[in-house]
């Protein structure tokens, strides 16, 4: 009997995995070496902006791509992170990195607040609540003048320093700060996707009632998805504030939220690679086509419409052809004779 089971061949790690690792190492070296190519400040600025938007897209990807909840209020979380960091550093002289973490924490609290309505409200209506949230945050910025300086905005946001080294735009420090955050978030997304939590997220996306039946606490996981997206957006918001050097309520409009969502959908939701290509295209396009004046945003719209028409899954949104990765535990179970269970698992990848 045991022999019969062992005949079933387990999927081996495909050969192109080695290629993938080589590619990743090359890409990483390239990204680390990038500032040494001697870009102008203008291009360093663009690079940092692209980096920030990749992080923001990865955050929203947890909501939209993994869990299937569409948020149009991400700019609100970015604003919370940016303002918390700025106010703490400028008015209370708190260390930059501590302020960034506090910003993430406050964003998390708002993430819980925004996640709770998902108990009662679903689909498009939930999206509307997030949209309202983004606008309300903007009003709070305008009205809470003693702290946020209201419509005047906050100028001269100081650049942070690490061990006495200033992390500015011109010496590439800010770039490396974004890169560090980006690598952390990419790793986090990668492992989240494959974790128990990630599987719960994906189950909710595919069929919520069915996942309730399977015993998944959907309320908990949906709120968790909101919190994770909020924290990452808040962290990215702090860096964005430094890059801009000036923030007011018009930095964090509905347009920012739609830009982040467009990056996720254009790149290919649910993937990590897609966020890179989406952000590069949608953030850099208006910059490189400055000569087109107002038409460059027309072009932006045309790209969105055409892409949705001909490639609705996104540029890099193909489905993995790799067989499901069988863990050591599952393999052991299989060899002990619980084969049917594992086989089900194998044929069941989204």
């Amino acid at each position: 009997m045991k022999k019969l089971f062992s005949k079933f061949d387990f999927p081996k790690l495909p050969k192109n995995d080695k290629l993938k690792i080589v590619f990743l190492i090359l890409a990483l070296t390239f990204l680390i070496a990038l500032p040494f190519f001697g870009f102008s400040n203008y291009w360093m600025n663009n690079l940092v902006k692209v980096g920030v938007y990749i992080v923001l897209a990865l955050a929203l990807n947890i909501l939209v791509g993994y869990t299937g909840l569409v948020s149009l209020g991400q700019a609100g979380f970015v604003a919370i992170g940016a303002y918390t960091m700025t106010v703490l550093v400028k008015d209370y002289q708190v260390n930059f990195f501590v302020s960034v973490l506090i910003g993430g924490l406050i964003a998390a609290i708002f993430g819980v607040l925004l996640g709770l309505p998902s108990l009662r409200v679903r689909g498009t209506y939930l999206t509307l609540i997030t949209l309202g949230f983004g606008e309300i945050i903007r009003t709070i910025i305008i009205v809470w003048e003693p702290v946020t300086s209201g419509p005047m905005g906050i100028r001269n946001i100081p650049t942070p320093s690490l061990f006495g080294l200033e992390l500015s735009l011109s010496n590439g420090g800010l770039y490396y700060l974004v890169l560090a955050l980006l690598i952390l978030v990419v790793l986090f997304s990668h492992f989240l996707f494959r974790s128990k939590t990630g599987r719960a997220f994906r189950a909710i996306k595919v069929d919520e009632p069915a996942s309730i039946m399977m015993g998944i606490n959907t309320t908990y996981y949906k709120t968790l998805a909101f919190v994770l997206a909020a924290v990452i957006s808040g962290l990215a918001g702090s860096i964005y504030a430094i890059q801009l050097g000036y923030i007011d309520q018009n930095t964090f409009t509905f347009d920012m939220s739609t830009l982040i969502l467009s990056i996720v959908i254009l790149g290919g939701m649910g993937t990590i690679r897609g966020m890179f290509i989406g952000a590069i295209i949608l953030v850099l396009l208006p910059e490189v086509s400055r000569a087109l004046m107002a038409y460059r945003f027309v072009l932006y719209g045309v790209i969105l419409v055409i892409m949705m028409r001909f490639r609705p899954q996104g540029i890099l949104g193909w489905k993995p052809k790799k067989p499901y990765h069988v863990t050591k535990n599952a393999r052991m179970l299989f060899e002990q004779g619980h084969g049917e269970l594992v086989k089900l698992n194998i044929s069941n990848q989204e």
Partner: protein, 291 residues
């Protein structure tokens, strides 16, 4: 003072209702938030202004502008949204498409007309009448009456004509309507046309109320009108009116009592509260989901 503000709110609210019906009708049939509707409204206002400046006379200019905006609605549906329906695309795909369309329209307007605010002619004679010590300008009165007439006309179209019957059928069950011989694609295009027409009229009315028009005007009004549609219960015409009035009145009251910076977000606060207490809005039908 309060009564005066309520009057202001009523007039604004009626025009919000006109924009809201466009959202409401499209959402009712397609379950799609048409984010390009704000841009359609801005297009309506700006095209009317452009035609007025060509000295066609005010009334022909407005009628032509309304017609063009209605056609724009059909073009959007035929070029961008109908192909997606044929592919059975996911709803997020259509959502992103409408965001893209909104970008295209707004920025084409900016490219051709410039982004600055331009003065819009008054459509109604100056002056005001006094009822029980309250001053109501002719503009306010005109806005209210025109919006009311249009909303009544829309309700008659939806409830009394064959085309309206087809619209309601598609709203209830698009597949069944198709099987019963309803030309669903025509019905949807017609819905977009009606939405465009009412948005253009709202655009002309609101622009003449504030006596200015500019390409980006659709952003806030669009979002507020959409909240109005959801408040009233999306897919319901009386709901759109009640929602529009709620948003209009609460906006004027908030601006008076708390200050004008609260004007824009009060609609969203009410929206969130209503959605949490009664997710389907005031008049919305409860959707039964079969598993």
């Amino acid at each position: 003072m309060i009564v005066q503000q309520i009057f202001n709110g009523l007039t604004l609210g009626m025009s919000y209702a006109l924009i809201a019906v466009g959202y409401s009708m499209v959402f009712g049939i397609l379950r799609l938030v048409n984010f390009s509707h704000g841009a359609i409204y801005a297009f309506g206002a700006n095209i009317v202004l452009l035609l007025v400046s060509l000295e066609l006379g005010i009334l022909p200019a407005i009628l032509l502008g309304i017609l063009f905006t209605g056609i724009l609605g059909i073009v959007i549906d035929k070029l961008a949204l109908e192909p997606l329906r044929k592919q059975n695309a996911a709803s997020i795909t259509s959502l992103i498409t409408t965001i893209g369309i909104s970008n295209i329209i707004t920025n084409l307007l900016i490219a051709f007309l410039g982004s600055q605010k331009k003065s819009f002619p008054t459509l109604f004679p100056d002056g005001s009448i006094t009822i029980l010590n309250f001053q109501i300008t002719y503009t306010q009165l005109g806005m209210f009456v025109v919006s009311l007439l249009l909303l009544v006309a829309l309700m008659l179209i939806v409830n009394k004509t064959t085309l309206g019957l087809a619209m309601r059928a598609s709203e209830t069950n698009i597949k069944a309507a198709k099987l019963m011989g309803v030309n669903v694609n025509f019905v949807i295009s017609f819905t977009f046309f009606l939405g465009g027409v009412s948005a253009a009229i709202a655009g002309a009315l609101i622009s003449s109320y504030y006596s200015m028009a500019y390409p980006n005007m659709g952003y806030m009004s669009g979002l507020k009108a959409f909240s109005a549609a959801v408040l009233g219960g999306i897919g319901s015409l009386p709901g759109a009116i009640i929602g529009g009035l709620t948003v209009g009145i609460s906006e004027s009251l908030a601006a008076t009592f708390f200050g004008s910076e609260f004007r824009d977000s009060v609609a969203f606060v009410i929206l969130i509260i209503v959605l949490l207490i009664r997710p389907r809005g005031f008049f919305g039908k409860k959707e039964i989901k079969k598993l």
